[in-house]
Symmetry: C2
């Protein structure tokens, strides 16, 4: 389907509650488990989502509206959340993500973007020309890429425990292509 | 990690609320979209999860406890939900899944399974010898395989809308290995 701003906002609105329902108060064996060295746990991923709310999505929306494609976006620091969230409990990170997302969606709605705004162009430091519409669609798809990753990382913890059923579980065949 | 029954129950308990938070009242463009002919929408997947609660997981637990490996499980009908759920609203399916899951977990807890029970063997019609422990771990991993699939199917709807960012979104590289 084409990008649809109300559909994007519907999805972005639901992600914090979905992560809260899935991960809140879940045993740490699930939330701190990774796929091996230098891979992310669900805890790390929530930290990454928080960092996106703070530094990536709405700042880039504002850059496009203010500067168009005359200035490139700041590169997104994918490791920042490791430094910023490491001493906090997951419950606090989930609450922080929900609060930041809610505030960002309030700001997005207040912009009252029109169809012609959505076609405005910005400049990505690596990808080149992008539109505001593509940026907003990517914000939603980025939530889904990390929900996909969280489910894969959690399933990995039971890779041995499921025994011969591993052949039937699609998530265990997933090679791990969820680079942020 | 090894199979841990309380951890399994923790995860199984959360899936209905997570799906409800993600999918409840989401526009049908997200919940009825598929990955193409003969593939499943999030709506279809919730129907499949309902069917598992009705015919697969707890009936197989009881078969192992009653018959051991002297009788093979009934094969799981992966298409059944298409027949049974097609005329219902998603909200009703989500509520039905939550109700069935809650009842099944009540029954599971009431069995008060001990470590030696978890080592009891059953017989899968295709996979052969399996243990009760493996069956229960698979129940949890099966939830995750479908959460993984739902996030992939939803992201697919924005495959074009994200423009050049598709290269960065891991979920869009996933080839679709979520056979149930």
């Amino acid at each position: 389907m084409k990008h649809n701003l109300p559909h994007t906002i519907s999805l972005l609105t639901r992600t914090p509650a979905a992560l809260n329902a899935l991960l809140g108060d879940l045993p740490e064996a699930w939330t701190l488990g990774t796929e091996g060295n230098s891979t992310w746990s669900p805890f790390d991923i929530v930290g990454h989502l928080i960092h996106g709310e703070q530094t990536d999505w709405m700042p880039r929306v504002r850059m496009i509206l203010k500067f168009g494609d005359s200035r490139a976006f700041e590169p997104f620091d994918r490791q920042a959340q490791v430094r910023e969230s490491q001493d906090k409990p997951l419950r606090q990170l989930l609450d922080e993500f929900a609060r930041l997302r809610s505030a960002n969606l309030g700001d997005l709605r207040a912009l009252n973007l029109q169809p012609e705004d959505l076609e405005r162009r910005g400049r990505h430091p690596a990808l080149g020309a992008v539109t505001l519409s593509q940026l907003l669609a990517t914000w939603a798809a980025h939530d889904l890429t990390h929900l996909h990753q969280i489910s894969r990382v959690m399933a990995h913890q039971y890779r041995e425990a499921v025994g011969p059923w591993s052949a039937y579980l699609g998530v265990l065949q997933c090679a791990g292509h969820s680079a942020p």
